[in-house]
């Protein structure tokens, strides 16, 4: 396991209007690892990962203090361009949300937007390799110009992962990426996560304890806006330090 720090969260407080959503969060996320965020609904998991690519900028009433450092640089500095930040920090959501475009155009959209290719061949190459990396190419190679929304749920989710990969990110955030998928599609995504961590840093929010246990190197448990405990996944699920964590993972609190 590498131990190189990718994201450092320092004393982060987040407010939506008067309501405080996150309380003094300190968390380290390491390169080429999968980190799971677990905790009951409303505990702040999604709020936290949205801080990693400044998705909360879009929420007017959202205010924060504290720092989120990626590779040692505070992403909330005025010098950080949120759009280029979001190419470095890709995101996959709970419900697959392909654009109402062809499979090809779904993947090509980001590279086109950011001018990340030289010519048509180059763009083709990006589309094919992104689909390959997402383990989807063989299933859609004859349907590249059919609508992405016509794929199955699991395929759509891998299409969204391919779309995130097309702009060459360093970090991939996944917000319950398998909650709408059947066990086979889920297994394919989990296998993909395992492969992707070789090149990317992955943060996954999940409500499935088993999924967190299966896919992640480290797990962070959150409760009511606080980070209760973080550690190696095998320790969190076999012998957590905090009673609250144990109560949650063993199904004793909701």
């Amino acid at each position: 396991m590498s131990e190189s720090l990718k994201i450092a969260v320092k004393n982060l407080n987040v407010f939506y209007g008067k309501k405080q959503a996150l309380f003094d969060i300190n968390l380290n996320i390491f390169s080429n690892e999968v980190t799971s965020l677990i905790g009951p609904s409303g505990c702040g998991k999604s709020t936290l990962i949205k801080c990693f690519n400044r998705m909360n900028d879009l929420v007017e009433i959202c205010k924060y203090d504290g720092e989120v450092l990626i590779d040692g640089k505070n992403i909330n500095d005025t010098s950080t361009d949120p759009v280029s930040l979001r190419t470095r920090v890709g995101m996959v959501f709970q419900k697959p949300n392909p654009f109402p475009k062809s499979v090809y155009d779904n993947i090509a959209y980001g590279p086109k937007l950011h001018g990340m290719y030289k010519n048509k061949d180059d763009l083709d190459e990006i589309v094919v390799s992104s689909l390959q990396k997402a383990g989807l190419f063989n299933e859609v190679k004859d349907r590249l110009f059919e609508p992405g929304t016509g794929l199955s749920g699991g395929q759509q989710q891998r299409l969204c992962i391919a779309r995130a990969l097309a702009v060459n990110p360093e970090i991939i955030l996944m917000d319950e990426p398998c909650s709408a998928l059947d066990p086979i599609a889920t297994a394919k995504i989990e296998e993909l996560i395992e492969e992707l961590k070789e090149k990317y840093t992955i943060v996954i929010v999940t409500h499935s304890m088993q999924q967190a246990a299966r896919v992640s190197n480290r797990t962070a448990y959150m409760h009511m806006g606080e980070l209760v405990e973080t550690g190696l996944t095998k320790n969190i699920f076999s012998n957590p330090e905090h009673a609250k964590t144990q109560d949650y993972i063993t199904g004793r609190i909701g």
């Binding site: 699920f237 076999s238 012998n239 199904g251 004793r252």
Partner: protein
Amino acid sequence: MSEQSGHIVSSFDDDIASIRRSVTKMATLVEEQYKLLHHIIDTGSASTVEDVLENEPKLDEFDGKIRDQVITFITLRSPMAIDLREGLTALKISTDLERLGDYCKNISLRIQALEEIPPAEIKNEILRMTVMVQGQLKRVIDAYVTKNKDKALEVRNADAAIDQHYQMIYNQIIEDIKSKPNKIKTLANTKLLFTIKTIERAGDHITNIAEEIFYTVTGEILTTPRPKGESEQ
């Protein structure tokens, strides 16, 4: 970790309680077997040996039942952390209990087959050693039922006294063999040596159970060496 509250899904608690009940019943039957063993050593009662032999297969049944319960529990509940440890240690404890039962049967048969009644002072010491094992069993069951790691540790630490007692009787029997060498006596004394070694091993299995209880409650595997009272025999 403080005392656990119940699961949201209450049948989850029922499953654990049911496994724990089986382990406790099995342990209680082992305790009963050692009570019978004490009587056998004291009186040589053949009918009590029959009782021990009759009870023994019930322990095997418990062992099989607990294995089934734990496999079903793990399959259906996907337990984690302390819940998983409950299941896994129930399996290990039932194996130790089954072994304790085997020992009891073996000793009973060995005592029954003795060529002559052991000298009173040796018999009394063996009885005393058996009482020590009975006490350890009682305390370890109590530690299991109350999920008390301190009581489990006390049991672990107390095994050294059994080891020491074993060593003392061992020396006594060797002296007896040396003092009046004859074939019959030597044969009987050899059986007694095996007997006390088996009782001493019973103590070790109780210590295993104590360590498993400690692990269930704390999640920590004891790494410090067990207190020793035994020499090399």
